[in-house]
Each structure stands twice: as C-alpha cells, then as structure tokens.
C-alpha cells in the first residue's frame, strides 16, 4: 500500500470574555488600534477550536491517540478558560494581548505539553467570520 499521512481533527468550544488593550499606551492609541474590542468592561465570544493531530495509526487501537486520552488532555487546557475573563484570570494574558493570534499561540503551548509532536494544527474561530490557524511545518 502507498505510504500515507493521517490526521484527525476534532472541534471543541469554550466561552470567554476579553478586552484588547495595551496598558502602556493612552486611550487614543488603544481606541484607534482596537476600536470596539477596547470596550472598558470587556466583551466575549464563543470560541471554537479545531485541534488536529497527526501521526502513525497504532496498529492495535486503530487510533493516532486514544480519543479518551485526547479528550482528557484538551479538557485540561480548555476548562480553565471556559466562562472566564482571559485578561483578568489567565496568567499568560497578563503580558500578552488576548487577540486570536495570541490565544492560538497560548493554546498550542499548553496542548503541546500533552500531545507533543503529534499536535499538528489549530484553527481557532473567534466568531463565524474570523479564524486563526497555527500549523506545524517542520
């Protein structure tokens, strides 16, 4: 049989509040860069996260990673964010802006602790109209 690559993708979701704001900069700067995302008291999204893992399919289980292990690892990373204010309650966002780019980088860093090199691609939907992707290319 021809040699192939196999990737499995699963969609998860979490809901969180955030505010885009650079504390060192004045109100005019923040308003200009972030517009309504700079709203003083924050706002929120239902985030959808599509996680792809890639690797050899275990000949016994027929899986790249047993789905139960996969779900548990993802739960550990996502549960702390769910129904939270990212900037106030998650340490990473004390000194990173909670943009989609930064959230997807944070999620990669956390998920890689459990999934290692099998972590292949993340696609984070902030709304139905914008998404952020991070993919391993080495």
């Amino acid at each position: 049989m021809k040699k192939v690559q196999v990737a499995l993708s699963k969609v998860f979701s979490f809901s969180a509040a955030h505010r885009l704001h650079v504390p060192e900069k004045d109100q005019a700067f923040n308003q200009q860069i972030y517009d309504k995302c700079n709203n003083l008291n924050g706002h929120g999204h239902d985030y959808y996260l599509e996680i792809s893992i890639k690797g050899p399919v275990n000949t016994k289980t027929g899986m790249i990673i047993p789905l139960t292990d996969f779900d548990q690892a993802v739960e550990k990373v996502i549960a702390p964010l769910d129904h939270r204010h990212l900037d106030h309650e998650i340490d990473y966002f004390k000194n990173h802006r909670s943009t989609g780019e930064e959230i997807v980088k944070y999620l990669w860093q956390e998920l890689e602790k459990y999934l290692g090199k099998k972590l292949f691609r993340l696609k984070l939907w902030e709304t139905n109209n914008n998404y952020f992707e991070l993919e391993r290319i080495d």
Binding site: K2, Q5, V6, L8, V11, V57, K60, T61, G62, M63
Partner: protein, 142 residues
C-alpha cells in the same frame, strides 16, 4: 507560478461499528474506547470528501467527469452504507473500525480504483464521523 487544481465530491453513508479488542480485558477496552465498546454497536452518518487532482482537459474543461467520479467512488461507498462495519464488511476482521482505519481503507480502495478506471490521482480524502470529528488521509510525499 506553479498552481494545483483539485475537485472534490462529497458522499454519505450510514453505518454502525464497535470498538473492541478481544484479547484485552473488559476494563482495558472500556478505559481506551469508552462508550464505543457498546456490545451491539452504534452508528454515525459518515460524510466522505474525495479530492482528486490532475490536468484540466482542454476540451471538456474537467479534471475528471463528475459522473465518472460518482460512479467509481459510489460503488466503493456502497459497500459501507447501512452496514455493521465489524461484521458486514471484510475490512475490519483484524482491525478496529476507528475513523482513522475506515479512512485508511477508503483511501486504499479509492486510490487503486481511480487509478485503474480513470487514470486519475487521489489527492486526499476527508472522512467526517460527525460534524465535529474528521480524519484526513493524503500521500506521504505531499
């Protein structure tokens, strides 16, 4: 600039399956496979996306005639539709019908048949078990 053009067609089949390894204890099976060990199986509406590539024929304007693709892939998909995959197909006697394994079987069947009947390259397949879970299979050199 180098470009690549592909065409994809979607197929659906409904099937049941069960995850179970005979020489494992019930505890071990339940730990690894969870709800999927349910003894009589359970089912899904699978959705298969078949993507092929190749030059566009200057006369027909097509990579492959969609009715040809439908006929070739449809015959393969038919073997899985309204079946209990573990018992009613020959492919899972010695492997668990996970989404990964079903996709691997479909890839192999499609790749061989598309080459034989239409001389066309299978670029990729995507198999959705549900809207929120899918597996992609593509050749290692791409």
């Amino acid at each position: 600039m180098k470009k690549k053009i592909t065409i994809s067609k979607k197929f659906e089949f409904s099937a049941s399956h069960r995850y179970w390894i005979d020489h494992w204890s019930a505890e071990k099976n339940n730990e690894v496979f969870g709800l999927c060990t349910s003894p009589y199986g359970h089912g899904h509406n699978y959705e298969l996306h078949v993507t092929v590539s190749g030059p566009v024929d200057p006369q027909t304007g097509m990579i492959i005639n969609l009715s040809t693709l439908k006929a070739i892939a449809g015959k393969i998909v038919e073997q899985f539709d309204h079946k209990f995959l573990n018992l009613d197909t020959p492919y899972f006697k010695d492997r668990v019908p996970t989404t990964e394994n079903i996709a691997l079987v479909l890839y192999e069947l499609l790749d061989e048949q598309l080459k034989k009947e239409a001389g066309i390259t299978l670029e990729k397949i995507r198999l959705y078990e549900r809207g929120d879970l899918y597996v992609d299979v593509w050749p290692e050199d791409k």
